[in-house]
């Protein structure tokens, strides 16, 4: 999956304003009581196109393109809102049109991940909207024979101030589409925003409460067959032979074939059953007789991996940052501290399991399904099938969760290989068991933290040594020295540290790993923010004050800490050891601090409250931001308290929700969110509030019990 580096911007080219026929996308009729969403775009249905995003009918109906993938984070509407704000339209009256892969229209960047959709679109999409507004003004001014500065745009109309004359956009669009658009139009100031920064209701939500929203798993294509694959339960096993006689006798089962899908340096082997219905395919799969070749089996467990990490921790590794004099780490005039932190493998467990439809025919390929990388999947399928990129169509429906999993192309790859072999469209649906077994796990980690602190609380030296599988170094020819430069994301709070070292010891293990919500920050935050607390404690300092001291030149961080302190009545609770802890993480361009309050009653530990302070700069929709924080906290609690993938003889143990227990409604403590309001550049929202959960919890439990918890998950019943 394309990895979006923090701070990178991708500017969408402004296409020519001449009207053009629109590409045909995928159509599913859907209407709710409040809005109509169309996703088959025909020129006569949508009106005249003004740049790649805006379509205006002569009636004045405005439609705006949704260029990325809706995985729950709200971009279906929040990206069009960037256009709508500057275009000056009534947001409740616009239609939003979901597009699939369309590089001509949208440029290269259509993926969702790295909490980057708003950040990378904030200026480009606003410019598109403003530029369209300018040509509409120009068209009106020209018709009225007045100068442009006497006219302004308001809610779908151009108004001539002094005479009150008006045109709605439908009356102007034809002329406007012939004019050349300014490439650097004036944008509104945040104080002028009418919809950005407001909790506007999402247009996809009415569809999702009536069951009308179509997900990948809901789609059907003429002539398709369902595919289900009995995968080898271990990563480097092979199909020795199989007997499909009983399977083929099941009514509805059409074909059985062996599959081999390359996943990084491994071949994932299995046997596919193709049938008319999902259930017939499952029935056929149940009676398959497969003999596996487990010759290359590695009998590892999560404990044997943990042991390997410990052995590897004495290696030199690769130093990513070294500043100052690391000998201070051993200088006995300071307080010296060393702690080790462990995090386990995690599964994504999106509610919609991996699935897709792939059709391969006549040097063309079409894909329907939830993907976080329409552009990446298009390129991958083109390369894999040996066909031109332009011949690969990627259709994108609503998606039942991404969480990073849907940036990995393996399920599309598997479907494409089957489709190519059999020559009919294949709808591959992984069962929940398949989905768990074939997770691209969040990597397990061991962090060896060493620090030196003086009596005044100055952090003299810090070393963060991480033992981990690098996500991007899983191919056979990968050079393990090419460690990702962002691998310490989430541990890079700008604390004042005189002498600093960050080192990685990369591991090669037979566990495929992948992008899991907040990625490296999800584990880095635990070791870093727990260790900062441990250092504070060594010199008897309040961990909140300690952090403020280390962030003395960082006003945005100080502000977040001060709000957290105020809202949680921090000082009093901490001093009285009521059970309060915090963690502060900056990741994806955003600062997030969680304060967690715990208590113990009748021998039972309880999380009483989580207070979150979040600074992501300018926001599109503050309610969506809150929803993302709530969701991240709940996912983070699952990771902190429950979730761990075990392996037995190299096979994943947890295959469904009976063993991988998910947080339920009753498990959610009260959550109080404080959004910092400022006019800073937008930071990411989809992920930054997950990393601080586990360390804040561990720190709170220390405050209450005096016990340090350095290994996740934390079983509250075992404390």
């Amino acid at each position: 999956m394309e990895k979006i580096k923090i701070g990178r911007r991708e500017f969408v080219k402004l296409s020519s304003m001449a009207g053009s026929l629109l590409a045909l996308g995928f159509y599913y009729p859907a209407s709710s009581k409040t809005t109509t969403i169309i996703s088959k775009n025909q020129a006569d249905e949508l009106g005249i196109e003004l740049n790649g995003y805006i379509f205006i009918e002569k009636t004045g109906q405005v439609s705006i393109a949704s260029p990325r993938v809706e995985i729950g984070q709200g971009v279906f509407q929040s990206l069009p809102m960037l256009v709508a704000e500057e275009l000056e339209v009534d947001i409740s009256k616009i239609k939003i049109i979901q597009f699939g892969r369309d590089e001509k229209r949208f440029g290269r960047l259509q993926n969702v991940g790295g909490s980057n959709s708003i950040r990378s679109s904030w200026l480009p999409l606003r410019k598109l909207g403003a530029s369209a507004r300018e040509v509409l003004i120009e068209a009106a001014a020209s018709r009225w024979k007045v100068i442009k500065s006497e006219c302004h745009a308001e809610q779908g109309e151009i108004i001539h101030r002094s005479t009150g004359r008006k045109f709605h956009y439908g009356e102007l669009v034809e002329e406007a589409s012939e004019l050349s658009a300014p490439t650097d139009p004036v944008l509104k100031k945040p104080s002028e925003f009418k919809i950005l920064g407001k909790p506007i209701l999402r247009q996809d939500i009415p569809l999702k409460v009536t069951g009308q929203a179509q997900f990948g798993i809901d789609l059907k294509v003429e002539g398709m067959l369902y595919a289900t694959v009995e995968h080898c339960p271990i990563i480097n096993g092979k199909v020795k032979n199989f007997n499909a006689q009983k399977s083929l006798a099941i009514p509805g089962v059409r074909k059985v074939l062996a599959t081999k899908t390359k996943v990084y340096r491994y071949m994932r082997e299995g046997v596919a059953v193709l049938a008319d219905t999902f259930w017939a395919a499952q029935q056929g799969r149940k009676v398959l007789e497969i003999e596996w070749d487990f010759t290359d089996r590695e009998n590892f467990t999560e404990d044997s991996i943990s042991q390997k990490f410990k052995e590897a921790s004495v290696k030199e590794g690769k130093s990513l940052i070294t500043s100052g004099n690391l000998a201070e780490l051993e200088n006995n005039k300071y307080h010296l501290l060393r702690s080790e932190y462990e995090c386990p493998y995690q599964a994504h467990a999106t509610m919609e399991p991996m699935n897709c439809i792939v059709s391969v025919k006549d040097n063309k390929c079409e894909f329907w399904g939830g993907t976080q990388g329409p552009g990446y999947f298009q390129r991958f399928l083109a390369e894999t099938l040996g066909i031109p990129k332009e011949n690969v169509t990627v259709n994108v429906p609503f998606t039942g969760g991404g969480l990073g999993r849907r940036g990995h192309e393996d399920f599309a790859h598997e479907a494409a290989l089957i489709a190519k072999e059999v020559g009919v469209p294949i709808k591959l649906v992984w069962t929940r068991e398949d989905d768990m077994l074939l997770s691209m796990f969040r990597p397990a980690t061991l962090n060896v933290m060493r620090g030196a602190i003086d009596a005044q609380g100055n952090l003299i030296a810090l070393q963060n040594k991480m033992i981990i599988q690098d996500l991007d170094l899983q191919e056979a020819d990968a050079n393990q020295a090419d460690v990702a430069d962002w691998i310490f994301d989430g541990a890079e709070q700008p604390y004042k540290i005189s002498n600093l070292n960050r080192t990685v010891v990369p591991m090669l293990l037979p566990v495929p790993v992948g992008y899991w919500r907040s990625v490296y920050a999800s584990t880095n935050s635990f070791s870093m923010e727990c260790f900062i607390d441990e250092l504070a404690d060594v010199v008897g300092k309040d961990p909140l004050d300690f952090r403020k001291q280390l962030l003395i030149d960082q006003p945005r961080f100080i502000k977040v800490l001060e709000v957290a302190a105020e809202k949680s009545d921090w000082k009093r609770n901490w001093a009285a050891r009521k059970g309060i802890g915090l963690a502060l993480v900056n990741s994806f361009g955003t600062i997030c601090c969680h304060v967690i309050k715990v208590s113990k009653s009748k021998g039972v530990f309880k999380i009483n409250k989580i207070i979150s302070v979040f600074d992501c700069g300018l926001m599109v929709n503050p309610d969506t931001v809150k929803a993302q924080i709530e969701g991240n906290i709940i996912m983070g609690l699952g990771a902190a308290l429950t979730h761990q993938i075990h392996f037995k003889n190299g096979e994943v143990v947890e295959k469904n929700f009976d063993t991988y227990k998910m947080p339920r409604l009753a498990d959610v403590p009260p959550i109080e969110i404080h959004l910092i309001k400022n006019e800073e550049e937008p930071g990411g929202v989809g992920e930054p509030s997950l990393p601080p959960v586990a360390p804040a919890l561990a720190n709170a439990l220390f405050n209450l019990t005096g016990k340090r918890l350095r290994k996740l998950p934390i079983d509250l019943n075992q404390l």
Binding site: E70, V209, W279, M351, G401, R432, F657, M662, P663, R664
Partner: protein
Amino acid sequence: MPNYILSINNKDYSFTADASTPLLWVLRDHLGLNGTKYGCGKGLCGACTVHLNGKAVRSCSLPVSAIGSATKITTIEGIGASKLHPLQEAWIKEQVPQCGYCQSGQIMSAVALLNRDSSPNERAIEIAMAGNICRCGTYPRIKRAIQATISQINKK
């Protein structure tokens, strides 16, 4: 393969399916009713929740041959078809869904709860909704939407 007639959302559907086919897959593959979702296939996640005579059941674990034509089945398509159910309105007001995949099941469980108890307390809500997983973490809003609906319907 046997023929079946089922009453779904006050309409009779006639079709042929293997006796072991779960109701979930009858709905999705035979009858084109996709609002009910597949999440786990083992009755653990609630995404497949429908009503049998107004009571919540997990359709992934219910073979079609066990149902009978006298049973009134309700799916999400049958809730708020002409006018949104107060729960659906509350769901929109609270902006509950994120990805939305689990939400049909969540709403079916919530409707069933209010069908049998128009004024459940917080604990009763937690118990009734315990069978529905949401990976996006919309639980706080689900709770608020249910509680708002309870206030609203009990005002009358």
